[in-house]
């Protein structure tokens, strides 16, 4: 579901599979525990292996943005597959400057 690694102040969370309201809960718990532990300068959410997401995925991104910002870090969302661009663009989160 989520694989995390912490190297050089960057915490990377690679998410696997589908992100819906059900699955977002455990993904969030895992990422937040690691974020609290490492207090990274940057949190990277790697979407390369996400096969589906609905607006719960947007909630997940926004929530992690708030979480890491509170700890003084920044958020990056990387490797968004072509098929997810439509919902990402609709959400307006690109205006936060988190997309890479």
């Amino acid at each position: 579901m989520v694989e995390t690694k912490y190297i050089d102040d960057v915490l990377t969370a690679k998410i696997y599979g589908e992100i819906d309201h059900h699955r977002a809960q455990s993904i969030r718990t895992k990422i937040d525990a690691q974020t609290q532990m490492h207090k990274p300068k940057e949190l990277q959410l790697d979407f390369s292996n996400v096969s589906f997401m609905d607006s719960s995925g947007i909630g997940l991104i926004m929530g992690r943005y708030r979480q890491v910002s509170l700890l003084g870090g920044s958020l990056k969302v990387v490797n968004v597959p072509q098929g997810l661009k439509k919902i990402i663009m609709l959400s307006g989160i690109d205006s936060l400057g988190v997309l890479k």
Partner: protein, 147 residues
């Protein structure tokens, strides 16, 4: 309206059924040979409507979610998703992008997604009675014609 095929799916409003619901709808409409992106649009819209039943309609209980899908002539898919939950007081307000009554990391974008991913959406609701969302999408055949 000439109905060519129809299916009803009823299930309990458990969050673990969100994946089941969108896969079931997707399996049923596959016979129309939709493109990958048309199929993704439908799955996403269904996921939004079903999640709303689970999160908002039945907040503290498990109720039944009723899905009815019809395929009519000209490759039109009509998906009706209904609950007998708390209902929506002000539908006009509820469908506004970013509006949410929940503070549990909901983005308030469910209706916006349904609107932009489907051709049309209608919402009927009554407090204490429940909510019905009807969405339509016509599959534009870019692939081969099976008939």
């Amino acid at each position: 309206m000439n109905v060519l095929n129809e299916v009803n799916i009823n299930f309990l409003s458990k969050s673990s059924n969100e994946g089941f619901a969108r896969s079931a709808v997707s399996a049923f409409v596959l016979c129309l040979d939709p493109t990958i992106s048309e199929l993704a649009d439908i799955k996403t819209a269904v996921s939004e409507a079903v999640t709303n039943c689970i999160v908002h309609a039945y907040p503290d209980t498990h109720g039944t979610i009723y899905i009815n899908i019809k395929i009519t002539e000209q490759n039109k898919i009509i998906i009706k998703i209904r609950d007998k939950g708390v209902g929506i007081e002000d539908v006009k307000q509820a469908i506004q992008p970013l509006f949410t009554t929940s503070n549990d990391e909901r983005a308030g974008l469910g209706f916006a997604v349904m609107q932009s991913f489907m051709d049309s959406i209608k919402v009927r609701s009554k407090t204490g009675v429940g909510t019905t969302v009807i969405m339509e999408k016509t599959i534009i055949r870019t692939g081969y014609d099976k008939r």
